[in-house]
């Protein structure tokens, strides 16, 4: 007799657990983009990076979280000459 599959590998179990949360987050993101549409001005690097991530979400390939985080990351390899401020914005400004 085969071993029963762990609950966290069963699609129905994880759908029950996370569907409503994911649904709410999708609607929040949709409403955020609608809100941006009602503003004037142009996208900065943060909005550009967010819109680019939507393509990754829908591409049907695995490791979406890793690939999106990589796409938002500073791709340079050399240390910065000086720390300009202390904070980060969420996406590399060069995007």
């Amino acid at each position: 007799m085969s071993k029963p599959q762990e609950p966290w590998r069963r699609r129905d179990a994880l759908t029950d657990l996370y569907y409503m949360d994911a649904r709410a987050r999708v609607l929040d993101l949709a409403a955020f983009l609608d809100r941006m549409d009602r503003t004037s001005g142009s996208d900065d690097h943060r909005l550009r990076s967010l819109r680019a991530a939507l393509v990754t979400l829908a591409d049907g390939q695995p490791d979406r979280a890793r690939r999106i985080l990589e796409s938002w990351s500073d791709p340079t390899v050399e240390p910065a000459a000086k720390a300009e401020g202390k904070g980060a914005t969420g996406a590399w400004p060069g995007l």
Partner: protein, 273 residues
């Protein structure tokens, strides 16, 4: 449930937080030195801070039956001022042998600058010379991937034994390279940045769970001192066994931290899980 909180900035938290953590089953707290939210203007400020971490906070935690341990360093956010950094580095050995001190941390990088890198190397040198454990902070958001690579290069070049260093705040794009280098990896549970409980459990399911730990890194910012037990409960909701949860939130940090002879945990009210 019993759990170890391996990364919490309790100097920024209230007594109510200690009560909540003790009630939730916290049997040990580890507090890395960090940035106070402003740049201190002299090494004297750090001397007082190190006294707070090694004298005052352990007494506060003991009132709730929780052993308190500390990591010492100058946070990378204050590494840009090399003069101040050298003054603080000179102070650290004076405090390293205090009974609750685990090692050097949380060192690392913030904006991946040359000065930050230089001070990171100096901290690592102290840890290697004195054979101390190392706790490494990786940078925030878009700076994390580059910073993690630079940090791993520094640890490798200094000859740090991989099992003596934990690289913290890993996410999906950095966890594999940290584990592949042989180090321990910490997943920080934050409401907005770093990892949510759901994403943390995803990583635990996919990677070498025996060298991972969870922490709240609660401080004066948006954070939750009960993030670890809440994530443990979410693991149970996903169907993970009580033993698997106990191994992650208690057994793993205990194995890493027990490399320090003085590391202690409290008796758990309910006994072993």
């Amino acid at each position: 449930m019993r759990y170890i909180e391996p990364h919490a900035h309790m100097v920024s938290r209230t007594t109510d937080d200690y009560v909540a953590m003790a009630t939730a089953g916290c049997v040990a707290i580890c507090e890395p030195a960090f940035w106070a939210g402003f740049d201190r203007c002299s090494a004297d400020g750090f001397r007082d801070y190190f006294r707070q971490l090694t004298e005052i906070e352990p007494r506060r935690a003991a009132r709730h039956g929780i052993p308190h341990h500390a990591w010492l360093c100058l946070n990378p956010k204050e590494s840009e001022d090399l003069g101040l950094a050298e003054d603080v580095l000179a102070l650290i050995p004076e405090f390293l042998d205090r009974p609750n001190v685990l090692g050097i941390g949380e060192i690392g990088l913030n904006k991946n600058s040359r000065n930050e890198l230089r001070i990171l190397e100096r901290h690592v040198q102290i840890a290697v010379e004195r054979d101390r454990l190392i706790l490494v902070h990786t940078p925030h958001l878009e700076d994390k991937l580059k910073g993690t690579r630079l940090i791993l290069d520094v640890l490798r070049a200094a000859g740090v034994r991989p099992g003596r260093a934990l690289v913290d705040h890993v996410e999906e794009h950095t966890v594999r390279q940290v584990l592949d280098a042989g180090h321990w990896a910490g997943i920080t549970l934050y409401p907005e940045s770093k990892a949510t409980p759901a994403r943390a459990i995803d990583m635990v399911e996919q990677y070498a769970a025996e060298r991972l730990w969870l922490n709240s890194a609660c401080d004066w910012g948006h954070s939750d001192p009960l993030a670890v037990p809440k994530t443990a409960l979410e693991m149970r909701r996903r169907g993970h066994s009580a033993a698997a949860v106990d191994a992650l939130v208690y057994g793993n940090p205990l194995r890493f931290l027990s490399q320090v002879p003085g590391f202690k945990v409290a008796d758990h009210v309910g006994g072993p899980a």
